[in-house]
C-alpha cells in the first residue's frame, strides 16, 4: 500500500512537472509581450528592449526554461510582473482560501449527495423520479450562472448575504463571534453555489453505484438472512458502492477546482483561481506559472488522497499492491 502510494506520488510529481513544462512553452510561444505591457504603450523601442533584458526574456528559450526551472525547484518563484510583489507570498496568501472553499464544499456535497443517492436507491418510485429530476438539474447548472442568481436573490433582493470577498471591510475590527459570523456570511454564497452543483453530480453517481451493487448475490444473501432493509443498504450495498464513489472523488477534483475558478472570479474570493484569472488577463507569466503549478499540485494531492481512501475502503487494492500488480 505504501509502495503503491509512493509510486503514485512519483507519477503525480511527473504530472506537475509536465504541466509546468507545457505551460512554460505555451506562454513563451503565444503572442503578447509582457515587457511591452509593463512599460506601457508610450514607451520607446529602447525602453522595451531594456525591460526585456531586465526580465531575462532576451535569452534563448531553452536557457530561459533551465534557469526558470532551477529557480522554481528551489522555491524562488520570482516577482509578479504586474504588481512587483513576490509570487510565492501572493500564492501563499491565496491557496488556503481555495482549499477552505473547495474542501468544505467537497465534504458537504459528498455527505449530502451520498445521503440523497442512498435514499433514491432505497425508496425508488415517485421520490426517486423527483429527486432524479432535481439532481440532474443541479448537475447541469453552470456555476457562474447559479452564483449570479443566488446573488440576485440573497444580496440584491433580500439583502441577506454579501457577494464580494472573504471578509467585510470592517473585519479587522471585529472580534470573537462577530468575526466568525462575518467570515461565514461571506463564505455562504460561494460555498452554496459550489456545493449545490456538487450534490447533483454525487447523488447521481451514488444512486447508480448503489443500483449496480444491489443486484449482486451477496446482497440477496444479506436480505435472506433477515437483515433490515436499512442495514442491508448501508452495511452491504453502500459500503461496496462507495469504492467507485471515492475513486470519482479523486477524478472530480480537477473539475471541482475548475468550477472554483469561475466561482472565485464571480465572488471575488481571494483564492488561487482569482489570482490565476487576474494573472492571465495581465499576461503575468510568473504568477500564471506558479498558480498553475499550485492548482496542478492541489489536484494531484487530492488524487493521492482518494487513492489512499480507496485502498483503505477496498482490501483488494491493498492485496494487489502487495502482489506488485497494477489494478486496471
Amino acid at each position: 500500500m505504501v509502495l503503491l502510494l509512493l509510486r503514485r506520488a512519483l507519477s503525480g510529481a511527473a504530472v506537475v512537472f509536465g504541466v509546468l513544462t507545457l505551460m512554460f512553452f505555451l506562454l513563451r510561444l503565444a503572442p503578447g509581450d509582457p515587457a511591452r505591457l509593463l512599460v506601457g504603450p508610450a514607451a520607446t523601442e529602447e525602453q522595451v528592449t531594456a525591460q526585456r533584458r531586465a526580465l531575462g526574456l532576451d535569452r534563448p528559450l531553452p536557457a530561459q526554461y533551465a534557469a526558470w526551472l532551477g529557480r522554481f525547484v528551489q522555491g524562488d518563484w520570482g516577482t509578479s510582473i504586474a504588481t512587483g510583489r513576490p509570487v510565492a507570498s501572493t500564492l501563499a496568501e491565496a491557496w488556503p482560501a481555495t482549499v477552505r472553499l473547495v474542501g468544505t464544499s467537497l465534504v458537504l456535497s459528498y455527505l449530502l449527495g451520498i445521503a440523497i443517492g442512498v435514499l433514491q436507491a432505497m425508496r425508488g418510485g415517485r421520490l426517486d423520479t423527483a429527486l432524479s429530476v432535481a439532481t440532474v438539474t443541479l448537475f447541469a447548472l453552470p456555476g457562474y450562472w447559479l452564483g449570479l442568481m443566488l446573488v440576485m436573490v440573497f444580496t440584491y433582493q433580500t439583502r441577506m448575504l454579501p457577494a464580494f470577498g472573504a471578509a467585510g471591510f470592517d473585519s479587522d475590527f471585529l472580534t470573537g463571534w462577530d468575526r466568525i459570523a462575518d467570515r461565514l456570511r461571506h463564505l455562504a454564497l460561494p460555498l452554496a453555489t459550489l456545493t449545490l452543483i456538487g450534490i447533483g453530480g454525487t447523488a447521481r453517481y451514488v444512486r447508480g453505484a448503489m443500483l449496480d451493487v444491489a443486484g449482486a448475490p451477496f446482497v440477496a444473501i444479506a436480505r435472506a438472512k433477515g437483515l433490515s432493509p436499512a442495514r442491508v443498504a448501508v452495511r452491504h450495498v453502500l459500503r461496496n458502492a462507495l469504492i467507485p464513489v471515492v475513486t470519482l472523488l479523486g477524478l472530480s477534483l480537477p473539475a471541482l477546482f475548475s468550477g472554483a475558478v469561475f466561482i472565485e472570479a464571480i465572488f471575488a474570493w481571494p483564492g488561487v483561481g482569482r489570482v490565476l484569472v487576474e494573472g492571465v488577463v495581465a499576461r503575468d507569466y510568473p504568477i500564471v506559472m506558479a498558480a498553475t503549478a499550485v492548482s496542478a499540485a492541489l489536484v494531484v494531492a487530492g488524487n493521492l488522497l482518494a487513492e489512499a481512501l480507496v485502498g483503505w475502503a477496498d482490501p483488494r487494492v491493498r492485496a494487489d499492491a502487495h502482489g506488485g500488480g497494477r489494478a486496471e
Binding site: G18, L26, V136, P142, Y144, M152, S258, F262
Partner: protein
Amino acid sequence: MGGPESAGGRARRRAGGVTRGLWSDRRAIFGLVVLAAAVVVALFAPVVAGDPIAQRDIVATRFLPPLSIDVHGGFHALGTDRFGRDVWARLAYGARVSLGVGTLAVLVSVLVGVAVGAAAGFWRGWPATVLLGLTDFALALPRVVLLLLLASLWQPSAGLVILVLGLTGWMTIARLVHGEVRALAVRPFVEGAVGLGASDLRVLVRHILPNAMTPVIVAAALGLGNAIMLEAGLSFLGLGVQPPTPSWGNLIASGRDTLVNAPWVAAAPGVALVLVVVGATLLGDAVRDRLDPSLVVRRTA
C-alpha cells in the same frame, strides 16, 4: 463483406434495438425534444425571433419586463435589455453560436479520442504505452486552467474556443474506445478479416471501430452538455465568443450588470443553457442504460 459477423450489420442491429427502446424512455424523449427545439430555434432564428436590433429608440424600449409590448407594438416574450434589444431574439441567435461551438468542439474531441483510443487499443507495445500515458496526463490537467490560459494567450474567437474545448475533452472517449478496441481485436470476426488478408487499417476502420462506437455516442452526448457549458463560461469571463455576437455565455455576462433592474436578461440564457445541458445529459443517460458499455464489453469479450 457479408457474413453473420459483418461489422456494419451488427452495428445496425444494435442501433435498431436502441432506438426502439428509447421511445419508451421519458428521459430520452425529453432530451430529444429539448435538443430538437434548440436546433430548430437556432436554425430558424430570423423566422422565430425576428431582428434583435431593430429598435428605434432605446429609451422607450429598454428594460421592458417579460411579456410586455413596447410603444411600437412590438411584443417581447422575454423582455428587453439595456439597449432595448429583444432578449428572446438574442437568445435565439445565441443558440446558433452556443450549439454550433459545442457541437464542433465535441466533434474535435470525438475525432482525437477515437484516433488515440483506437491506435492504443490496436497497436500494443510502445505506441499504446505512450498514448495511454498521454491520456492519463491530459486527464490530470485542470481543464479550465488550461482553457483560461489558451483562450487568453491568443485572440479570443469562436474557432479558438472550438479547438481548445475539443483538444481538452477527448480523454474519456479515448479510454472508452481503447477498452472496446482491445476487447474486439481478439474476436473471431476480426481474426477472420485478418486471415482474409485485410490491412491493419482496414480491419481497424471497417471491422472494429463500427462496433466500438456506442459508448462514444454516449460520451459525446454527455460531452456536448459540458462543452456548451464551458463555452458559456469562457464567454462569460470575456475569453470566448466576443460581443456583439451573442452567445449564451456573453448574454449572461451582459445581464450581470443589470441584475438589479432587469434580472431576466441574465436569467433567460441561463435557463436555456440548463435545459439544453439537462436534455443532452438525460439523452446520454438513456442511451447508456439501453446499452451499458460495460455490459456490451462483458457480452462480447
